[in-house]
């Protein structure tokens, strides 16, 4: 039985929401991420940071959430990205369309 990804949200300031995801995000775990994104949306923050430093795998269900979030927020993806996640973005050609930083601080600082 695979452990679900754990999703933790916290707000760094009135303007940021940070959603940190640890583990593997597949179609089972995706709803939890989706809920977190929806809450961030409702809270009205301008910038949404997805902290993927501890995300070990992600598939198209996650990508869909990312693309949707991107439409509604200023979205940053904080790395460093696990090879599997990097590959997801690279193969689908979404890398150039995402702001990916090397770490969380960078994502918050900008």
């Amino acid at each position: 039985m695979r452990p679900d990804a754990t999703v933790v949200t916290h707000t760094a300031a009135d303007t940021h929401a940070v959603i940190a995801i640890a583990g593997e995000v597949d179609c089972d775990a995706a709803p939890a991420v989706e809920t977190a994104v929806a809450e961030a949306h409702r809270s009205g923050v301008r910038r949404l940071v997805l902290d993927l430093a501890r995300t070990t795998f992600a598939d198209s269900s996650f990508l869909h959430i990312v693309l949707t979030a991107r439409q509604h927020h200023e979205l940053l993806v904080a790395g460093p990205l696990h090879p599997a996640v990097q590959r997801l973005f690279d193969v689908t050609g979404t890398t150039p369309h995402l702001r990916i930083t090397d770490g969380l601080d960078e994502a918050l600082g900008g």
Partner: protein, 538 residues
């Protein structure tokens, strides 16, 4: 009055007389010594001094003669239970209890239980099928088995014809579509419209038309009609038939038949609703099922599709084939993966396939084609997207010329004649969610026996293996392919499917799609092939 029980002392007759229960006392020879008034009321023929058998029904006399201690039977229209005691100095006394009401109650209970059991059984059988025809057959058979000698289920009356399902007890159900008029049977038209039917006793069985009666049934003694109620319009009516001599339907029986009809009607309705829903789904998905791939224009193609178990027949993966518009032209195949599942994904898949089918005739360049497709799919309402691979193939001599372009999808693998496996050098953006897309096309040739394999990530991301959680991965896929040099396209697909399937074991999986393009190993001389080519086209 309290009586001390002293064995051997006969009770005084006055006690006997006061008892409301019939008592008959006999001497050793079986002759009546005395009886109380209650007994003479029940057995008027009893005579003191005469043998028991002269004044009581045979069942009691025989029980007495056999030396039994209890007996029961009817006296006139009442039933009694009798028990014997043996007062000293000898002889016997028979005591009677009127069990008529109790028997009737027991009989009613038994009947009720039987009916309940029948309804439970009927419900089980009716609910197990969502096939309307099967439900009607079951209804007719159940009714013929338990409620009457034969049963007829009439489907909703169409404009001119009506489905008639008949069953005789113990036999199968048969169905016909007949052009008949329900008005020929009193009350039938009403029942079909959902109105209460006329009571059975009002229907003259001799006027029943022949089409209602099963072949060889014989004359109808009585019949009963009830509606099969449903949601809104009733799905039909039920007619029960009894042969002559079987007795009419009682009110209780009619009531019970209506209870049964209610269940049957509900089941038939559910089945019809299901049929409608799935007919719609079928219509939508028929077009969306992956096409059966065969040989076309000297190109071997084979596909394998295994939808995720969790859901519907249609999932997010798809592949399609667009034959060359002109002889010697390019055949295009596409394999793709739409995010999401179910009808939602299916609708997007449909749009992609029809758009590609139309656009590719006017735009041969893959990158431009994907740009056009992207534009067609972009929506402000959602970010649903697809990843896909386009492959344009043309045969030149014994070689296949391929142009491969990935739109955000894993690049195809190519296995060469020497068993070496390479990854096609193509990449691109996913389609339908980004404002701009780009892609690079990889051109290559397949010599005889070489295969290009398109696949979805359901294959490479399949989890399983001996340790249960490892992904199948591209490395394993490449290794599998390296053994497939020279194999026909179907064998390549089969081999990969087998390995992926074994890898998964019984684990859950995403949709898995494969498409192999192979240059035939022994190219045929041409369309003049003649006998032995079955369905394949040259």
């Amino acid at each position: 009055m309290k009586t001390r029980k002293v064995p051997g002392r006969p009770l005084p007759d006055v006690t006997l007389e006061a008892s409301p229960h019939p008592v008959v006392v006999l001497d050793e020879a079986g002759r009546v010594r005395s009886s109380n008034t209650a007994a003479t009321l029940v057995f008027p023929a009893l005579e003191t001094g005469a043998p028991l058998a002269d004044g009581v029904p045979a069942w009691l006399a025989e029980a007495h003669a056999r030396g039994e201690g209890t007996a029961h039977g009817a006296v006139g229209d009442r039933t009694f239970r009798a028990s014997r005691s043996a007062p000293a100095p000898g002889g016997a006394a028979w005591w009677f209890t009127d069990t008529t009401e109790q028997s009737a109650a027991e009989e009613a209970l038994r009947r009720e239980r039987g009916r309940t059991a029948f309804l439970v059984e009927a419900s089980n059988q009716l609910l197990s099928s969502l096939n309307a025809r099967r439900c009607m057959d079951t209804t007719a058979q159940l009714a013929a088995g338990h409620l009457a000698d034969a049963a007829v289920v009439l489907g909703p009356s169409g404009r001119r014809r009506i489905h008639v399902t008949r069953a005789v007890r113990g036999g199968p159900a048969t169905r016909e579509l007949l052009a008949v008029d329900p008005a020929e049977v009193p009350g039938l038209a009403d029942a079909l419209a959902g109105f209460p039917a006329v009571p059975s006793r009002w229907i003259d069985a001799s006027t029943v038309p022949g089409w209602l009666v099963p072949d060889g049934f014989g004359p109808v003694g009585s019949l009963m009609i009830t509606s099969l109620p449903g949601n809104g319009a009733p799905p039909g009516a039920l007619v029960l038939l009894r042969r002559e001599g079987a007795g009419p339907f009682s009110e209780g029986e009619e009531g019970f038949a209506r209870v049964f009809a209610a269940r049957a009607g509900a089941a038939i309705c559910a089945a019809q609703l299901y049929a409608e829903q799935s007919a719609v789904a079928d219509l939508l998905t028929e077009d969306l099922l992956p096409p059966v791939l065969e040989r076309i224009d000297g190109i071997e193609l084979a596909g394998g599709y295994r939808p995720s178990r969790d859901d519907h027949r249609i999932g997010g993966d798809f592949y399609d084939l667009y034959p060359a518009g002109v002889p010697g032209g390019e055949t295009m195949v596409v394999l793709g993966d739409v995010c999401g599942k179910g009808l939602e994904a299916a609708v997007l898949t449909g749009r992609i396939r029809t758009t590609l089918q139309a656009l590719r005739l006017v735009e041969p360049d893959h990158e431009r084609l994907l740009e056009l497709l992207n534009g067609a799919l972009l929506s402000s309402r959602h970010t649903r997207y697809a990843t896909l691979v386009l492959a344009s193939v043309r045969r030149t001599g014994e070689v296949l010329r391929l142009r491969l372009t990935s739109g955000g999808h894993p690049a195809p693998l190519i296995v060469r004649a020497d068993g070496g496996v390479e990854t096609a050098d193509t990449s691109g953006s996913l389609i339908g969610a980004l404002p701009e897309v780009q892609a690079t096309t990889y051109s290559t040739e397949l010599r005889p026996g070489e295969t290009c394999l398109l696949f979805s990530d359901g294959i490479t991301e399949a989890r399983g293996g001996p340790f249960g959680r490892d992904m199948f991965g591209e490395e394993r896929l490449s290794e599998a392919l390296s053994h497939c040099a020279g194999m026909p396209a179907e064998a390549v697909v089969e081999h990969v499917r087998m390995l992926a399937s074994d890898w998964l074991g019984t684990g859950r999986h995403d949709d898995m799609a494969l498409l192999a393009i192979t240059a035939p190993r022994r190219p045929r001389p041409g369309p003049a092939g003649g006998q032995g080519h079955g369905r394949s086209t040259a």
